[in-house]
């Protein structure tokens, strides 16, 4: 119980000290929004949450969406906006790191729901269950009556990645809100704000690289920005990919273009280079897929490429992480566009 309270406390304190020049805190925490309207993306949903934050009586909600889109942050902001000073007493936050078996749902959550906390009218205690999709079915089953019985005093806010892992009776008792990935522009805008606040020196391609590596995940973007900045003092694309330890997408793009042209020697040179740099097969294949999806390749070849990359990824995932597999991939890719009948 005690450490949960600490967890909760941390965030508001963190944001208050944003004027502090020290770099001790992760920027993710330092720039975690405190007010709902500061949250980037998903404006439709968030503006509605704002209304609840002002007036209370929030229904039970499930927020589903990919990581780094502000699910937990919006729940925390909502709770803070609604409960104000009684936040400490009226919020129970649990995530996957807490024990959340069926006993906890039956005992701890029920106990908290039964507790009396004096709140202004129309306000309710909030139980935040982060990463709710990792809860067992049994625990979720036990939750559903609790949700109903105590709805007079307690509301639930669940955050999860996949809403289909939440059992239907629970979904039915909640308003399901779906967050979508942030667009590159949204991530970029926030990055620029942070860069300004922290006086980061950056180049445009550096930020572009960060946006590329983040893939719509704000948390990742901020982490990458901070580590690049603290590691190198300057944010350009070279440094970003060094820090993130990802093969440079430009290299991959060239490599794929060679494959499209059927030039296996050139393509292999890139691959061998990447391999020598020490990237694992897993790293390389992930970036290949990501680049391939967005590259300008004829539709048929793109489809076939994705298929082959998929099969190679499958072998890699099963443990065959060798340069041979990667070379075989290149060979197969080159074959796709090669004129049939000519050997070699």
């Amino acid at each position: 119980m005690a450490d949960q309270e600490m967890e909760i406390d941390e965030t508001p304190v963190a944001t208050k000290s944003s004027g502090n020049p020290h770099h001790e805190q992760p920027w993710v925490e330092k720039y975690r929004p405190v007010k709902l309207h500061d949250i980037v993306g998903n404006e439709e949903t968030i503006s509605r949450l704002e209304v609840f934050g002002r007036d209370g009586n929030v229904p039970n909600v499930i927020i589903a969406g990919p990581p780094g889109t502000g699910k937990t942050t919006s729940i925390l902001c909502l709770a803070r906006a609604m409960l104000g000073p009684s936040y400490r007493d009226a919020v129970l936050e649990m995530n996957a790191s807490n024990d959340r078996g069926i006993d906890v749902v039956r005992n701890k959550i029920k106990m908290f729901a039964q507790q009396k906390v004096t709140l202004p009218k129309g306000r309710h205690k909030i139980i935040i269950l982060d990463e709710a999709d990792s809860m067992t079915d049994g625990a979720q089953q036990a939750l559903r009556r609790t949700m109903e019985i105590y709805s007079k005093t307690t509301r639930f806010a669940l955050a999860c990645n996949a809403s289909d892992k939440i059992i239907e009776p629970i979904q039915s008792r909640c308003a399901v809100l779906r967050y979508s990935k942030l667009t590159d522009a949204q991530v970029l805008k926030r990055l620029l704000e942070v860069c300004e606040a922290e006086a980061v020196s950056y180049t445009d391609d550096g930020l572009e690289a960060i946006v590329f590596t983040a893939q719509g995940d704000m948390r990742q973007a901020l982490n990458n920005l901070q580590s690049t900045f603290q590691g190198f003092g300057h944010v350009n694309s070279e440094n970003v990919f060094k820090v993130c330890d990802e093969p440079h997408p430009m290299l991959i793009q060239d490599m794929l273009q060679h494959c499209v042209n059927g030039n296996v020697e050139e393509a292999y040179k890139t691959m061998a280079h990447l391999w020598k740099l020490g990237y694992s097969a897993d790293d390389i294949i992930t970036i290949i897929f990501r680049v391939c999806k967005n590259q300008n390749i004829p539709e048929f070849l793109k489809l076939e490429f994705i298929k082959e990359i998929g099969y190679t990824h499958m072998r890699i995932a099963e443990g065959v992480q060798s340069l041979l597999q990667m070379s075989a991939l290149l060979a197969r890719l080159c074959k796709k566009s090669a004129v049939p009948g000519i050997k070699g």
Binding site: H37, N42, E44, T45, S47, R48, E50, V51, R54, D55, N57, P59, V61, G84, P85, S86, D89, D103, M111, Q114, Q115, K116, V117, T118, P120, K121, G138, Q141, A142, R144, R145, I149, S151, K152, S163, D164, I167, P169, Q171, S172, R173, A175, V176, L177, R178, Y179, S180, K181, N296, I297, P298, E299, F300, L303, K307, G310, H313, M314, E318, V339
Partner: protein, 664 residues
């Protein structure tokens, strides 16, 4: 309605356990919130009040309203003394309840459940409340979540003037005052005789059943009730692991119990159903448990109720908002897939956006107010079916797996729109020998489509697989498309790597589908040929479910043969039917008939389509898996053989057919 609540709330505020006032509103009293002895509750109240006081001390400004509230609580001041927060006098200044609670049906006429089902349960209750039969009556209500099962029971109990006793799982905590009280309220066996506090949940459950059956609760309020109904909606957790002991309890109860026992299980479309585990067929027959299964709420009914709630809230609720346009309500009701509770929750969320009278307390409030009014016009525009933007907006708030958006996404993939290549200057071309695979550029990004429909790739592929055939005209195209589908299926085959490869799988399936359809390779060919085609839900899941059920039944019926289920189904049962053995078990006879005789019944598949949704939901709900249709047909064919089928079951099926016509 409001004035009544208002007065009571003023004095209660948020005293969690002061049930007399609460129970007045909500008849169903769960045992955990039963009146606690005076002393305990008052002492609780005092301590927590002080605790709060400490916390508030640090916050000068925000303390004001809270302190006032407390005062009004102590002295029970009249309404006028409440913190004056409202500008609009008639509207309540705060809201305390969920809409789905506030608008629980109060009478039979409010219910969204189909009339037939109401009657069915009502007659059953009436028949058993007064009968003096030796068997204790039990009924099992099943249906998807939010179909109104619990609401129906509560309304009927009220209507018949019965007391509803409900089991709720006790808190298994260490012995302290709270749990002590709890235990007593749970009818658990904190008994002096045994001298032990802790007892298994199961025995507590048993005690609950027996005591609830035997003793009436104290008649404090003088509203004498006619009878009792026991409701079990939450099952003791242990039951899922050890179903047989649960069955023993039921058997015991059926010998001694007198008052009707209602079980509610909400079934899920995926995964194992608890129904089969807790109430296997043989137990249902043995104890004569009737089974009433509910369908998802029909879209028309849902629409009516949602509109009613919206108008009511707009007129009397906390916020003033223009009643959402019909299209908005329609899409909410559709996306909820027959789940009324979910729909109401979504409605509450959706309506809030349209608030005009938000008190502009701060500049920020004003700012967002402007935003909201902008949105209002937008959501009004949602009436136009063509505006794709509002779709995604509502999808974000929407209910469960949203068929409407899915419909759009599927259409996009299957109809495969292409752009004029002249609009895309930098387009890469295929080498000449692959000319047959050249396509005009796609007007959409397949990965975006998948991401927007909020479904797992797996599920989306199942939909594609169900529907793709209709859209192809060349057999060679079908070959290629099915090859890609099989590729993508194979990738997600391995459990351990599924999460990584899921993205590839959906990418390959959709892209393969788009590309292999050669009749739509040019942007100009999109309009020609294909007209509107209905889309169907994948049969895969229901077929799997039926298969599992059949295996289970087969194993149970032919226990003595000791074969694995597939051997039973493919070898033993067909032979048995051919060699004409005399079977004595009526269950075996009907099962053999069902399995081995193929009739040319067309298995209907669920349509997925905007317009027919109303009709469709109902006809499907009744026929769900092909099996029901199937067995029904069988019944007509071989009535002589399958006398074994319980009469009630037959009745039910016939009724369901009537419903189909009823709603057309």
């Amino acid at each position: 309605m409001w004035s009544d609540n208002e007065s009571s709330r003023d004095s209660v505020v948020d005293l969690t356990d002061s049930p007399p006032l609460k129970t007045k509103k909500r008849k169903r009293d769960t045992f955990t919130s039963k009146p606690v002895p005076k002393k305990a509750s008052s002492s609780q109240w005092v301590t927590s009040a002080f605790g709060d006081f400490d916390d508030f001390a640090g916050f000068g400004s925000s303390m004001q309203p809270a302190a006032k509230t407390k005062q009004s609580k102590l002295v029970t001041k009249p309404l006028s003394q409440c913190p004056p927060r409202t500008n609009v006098s008639k509207r309540p200044s705060y809201e305390d309840e969920l809409w789905s609670d506030k608008h629980t049906p109060k009478s039979v006429s409010d219910l969204a459940v189909h009339k037939k089902k109401i009657e069915e349960l009502q007659t059953w209750l009436q028949r058993h409340l007064n009968s003096k039969s030796m068997r204790s009556p039990m009924v099992l209500l099943t249906g998807p979540a939010g179909a109104g099962k619990s609401a129906l029971v509560q309304v009927l109990a009220k209507e018949l003037n019965c007391e509803l006793k409900e089991w709720s799982n006790p808190i298994a905590a260490a012995y302290d005052e709270l749990s002590f009280l709890d235990r007593r309220n749970n009818w658990s066996d904190y008994s002096r005789v045994e001298g032990s506090y802790s007892s298994s949940q199961l025995s507590q459950f048993q005690q609950f059943l027996l005591r609830a059956d035997k003793y009436n609760s104290l008649d404090i309020f003088g509203n004498g009730t006619q009878g009792k109904i026991i409701l079990v909606e939450e099952f003791p957790n242990i039951v899922y692991k050890d179903a047989t002991s649960f069955h023993d309890i039921l058997r015991k109860y059926s010998k001694v119990g007198r008052c009707p026992l209602i079980f509610i299980i909400s079934d899920s479309s995926s995964g194992e159903s608890n129904e089969r585990l807790l109430f296997p067929k043989h137990l249902q027959e043995e104890l004569h448990i009737e089974n009433i299964s509910f369908n998802p709420i029909a879209a028309t009914t849902m629409l009516k109720i949602l509109t009613k709630i919206a108008t009511e809230e707009a007129a009397h609720g906390m916020h003033k908002f223009s009643v959402p346009s019909k299209a908005v309500i329609e899409s909410i009701s559709m996306s909820s897939a027959g789940d009324i509770r979910g729909a109401i929750n979504a409605l509450q969320f959706a309506c809030l956006k349209d608030t005009h009278d938000l008190l502009p307390t701060t500049s920020k409030g004003r700012q967002s107010k402007k935003k909201t009014s902008g949105e209002t016009s937008k959501s009004k525009r949602a009436g136009n079916k063509s505006s794709a933007d509002s779709d995604s907006t509502l999808a974000a708030i929407g209910g469960r797996d949203t068929s409407l958006f899915l419909f759009r996404a599927l259409g996009k993939i299957l109809y495969c729109k292409r752009d004029d290549p002249s609009n895309h200057p930098g387009l890469a071309k295929l080498p000449p020998h692959l000319g047959e695979h050249e396509r005009d550029p796609l007007s959409l990004n397949p990965e975006d489509v998948i991401e927007k429909c909020n479904l797992s790739g797996d599920y989306f592929n199942a939909y594609l697989h169900q529907n793709y055939l209709e859209f192809f005209s060349e057999i060679s195209d079908v070959v290629r498309a099915s090859e890609y589908l099989s590729d993508s299926d194979f990738m997600t085959f391995e459990w351990s790597t599924r999460s990584i490869l899921e993205e590839y799988a959906s990418s390959i399936a959709t892209r393969g589908m788009l590309h292999s359809n050669s009749s739509r390779s040019k942007h100009s060919s999109t309009g020609s040929g294909l007209g509107w085609k209905p889309l169907h839900k994948p049969q895969w899941y229901s077929t799997c479910k039926t298969e599992r059920q059949n295996c289970e039944t087969a194993r149970h019926l032919f226990k003595s043969y000791a074969c694995p289920p597939d051997v039973l189904q493919t070898e033993l049962v067909p032979f048995l039917s051919l060699i004409d053995v005399t079977l004595h078990d009526p269950g075996q006879i009907s099962f053999i008939n069902e399995i081995t005789k193929f009739s040319n019944v067309k298995i209907r598949s669920e349509k997925l389509d905007e317009k027919d949704l109303v009709v469709d939901k109902d006809s499907q709900g009744t026929g769900t898996s092909g099996e029901t249709v199937w067995s029904n047909k069988m019944e007509e064919d071989n009535i002589s053989n399958s006398q074994s089928k319980v009469v009630t079951e037959e009745m039910e099926e016939e009724e369901e057919y009537e419903i189909t016509e009823f709603d057309d």
